[in-house]
Symmetry: C2
Subunit: 106 residues, 2 copies
Amino acid sequence: MIHVHSLLSGIPLTSMEEVFTTLFEKPGLKIERITSHGQASPEGFWYDQPSDEWVLLVCGSATIEWVDQPALTLHPGDHVTIPSHTRHRVVQTSPDALWLAVHVDG
Amino acid sequence: MIHVHSLLSGIPLTSMEEVFTTLFEKPGLKIERITSHGQASPEGFWYDQPSDEWVLLVCGSATIEWVDQPALTLHPGDHVTIPSHTRHRVVQTSPDALWLAVHVDG
């Protein structure tokens, strides 16, 4: 039986932390929803991920900082591909930021 | 250099056919945008795909018909996982239907 789920259901209205919800998963692949509520990466923290990530900002706004290029601000509908081990951090998110992230190994 | 792209840019305002745009691809995985303009699968045609598909309806509405369960109508933000070889067809799409599809082998 195939069911419909909504990306917009069950979103916490507020949270002290980002909330990660896995939508689909199989070996080497994970699709997840991330809700941010104004969170940013801690000062001095850099993501350095073993997987490639394709990320779409669905709602809100967010700014991603990189080691070796200017920061990028995303608006709804914007997507970026972040190759594995590309160091980055999230400088700001709006209170209503909602991401769709696809993590791909290999 | 990492660039931002918009899911909403370069959408054909009208088209006789659905338009497929690859957003990210690597072996065993493809993320694509599909714009529909009221198209439906031809009468008697059934998709029977070798890959699993996770699909999100971003804009518009669409109805998917299945061999062995009732049709499902999707609204913006709705997503479904379609396992490989699950026969289905698209019965209707609105003129502004925009899908995000993730095809996964294996």
